[in-house]
Amino acid sequence: MKKVIEGSHAVAEAVRLCAPKVIAAYPITPQTHIVERLSKMVADGQLDSEFLCVESEHSAMSACIGAQATGVRTYTATASQGLMLMHEMLHVASGMRLPIVINVANRSVSSPLSIWNDWLDAMAVRNSGWVQLFVESSQEALDTTIQAYKIAETIHLPVMVCIDGFYLSHTYEPVDIPDTVAGYLGDYKPKVVLDPKNPITQGMMAGPKAFQEFKEQQHRALLSAKDVIKNENREFNKKFGRIYGDGLVETYNMESADYAIISMGSVCGTIKHILDEKKISDIGLIRIKTYRPFPNKEIIDLTKNLKALGVLEKDISFGIGGALWADVKTFVDKPVSNFIGGLGGRDIQIEDIVKIFGTIRKEEENIHWVGSQLKK
């Protein structure tokens, strides 16, 4: 059924369809509408879940970890400072191999205080062992949140679905809501569960003789997510008729491109619009949907015949440059310019992107701050 709804509510509909038994959340802008809607669904009897109003995001993730360990599907959502407070428990969730699903409505991180969108929150936790998916539209947010449960439960790792705060979370778009996910997402079948009748220890200590192997296992599992994500992208298409690139990356206007701009999230919609409107043929878009695990092979293949690239991102890894740019540079041996913009909710406008295209064509490699008001 098609409805014009907020991105947050599209996510809440996806979660309702996946029916987690426990939802633990703490409100924070711009994520609040997701869990607000979910708590209403629970109160109205549309969703059979235990809704825990916890006292912090650290507790929200802790509650999800405990609940998931007993063998039920769980859900939480957060943003910004909330994700920072949750950071410790993100590592515990992935280390315990619990397939928890979270939505992050991406927002900047203080200080200075900003409630607005960029990716500083998600990028700060990119080493916590979670699958990280970035979506472009509300429809993709809904579809990806459903896929996230399937991916997580296949590889036994938690999945974070990132939606740009406000640009997606608070924007109304037509969204097709499936009637059911039956036939796509089955019951959650954990390998091991906490059960007093059959006791085991989970989240235990590992000494120097064992710890490293557990981390190696985690890394292997996260790499194995690539094939699983590609497969779920196809399976979802069979069932619901919607597909997003190959699940890892999506390309646009690449047919005759000499150059490419690489980015993630909702700003890719703006880029596509400009490519169409200005009838640009020498530049294409590579939208990274799966940020972790990083689609290195796909990036290498897609860029091998190109002259130069640009990476547009709403984050900064202080002391090196953009985090995404640094990742791309690891695998691409040609000029890659970095464009850092949109921090703290500043709109990346059409003229900004046109300028970026001009710089990419110069085939240079510098770090540019989009629309910087500081003297050089």
Binding site: M96, R97, V192, I200, T201, E213, Q217, A221
Partner: protein, 89 residues
């Protein structure tokens, strides 16, 4: 994959029995004859490594050195100052 490394590091019960933490000890608490077997130390011992046993008709605290980590909380809490310490050899 190697059976020893259960993904997610879960384990069968009993790991706290298997791991003998007595080897961590720097100071060793010693129960002296002043002990009257009141049991205060058994309640404070964070490892549950002290039991009250009967010896020659008298109650007395007995420390399980396989698990005593040598924190000396028993020494601090004993109302009769009946526990002394020595450096672990």
């Amino acid at each position: 994959m190697d059976k020893k490394f259960n993904e997610g590091a879960w384990a069968e019960p009993g790991t706290s029995v298997k791991n003998k933490t007595g080897s961590w000890r720097t100071f060793k608490p010693i129960v002296t004859d002043r002990c009257v077997g009141c049991g205060t130390c058994t309640k404070f011992c964070p490892e549950g490594a002290i039991k009250i046993v009967e010896k020659n008709g008298k109650k007395k605290a007995e420390i399980n050195y396989d698990y005593c980590k040598g924190c000396l909380i028993c020494l601090k809490e004993c109302p009769f100052k009946a526990i002394e310490k020595e450096v672990e050899k």
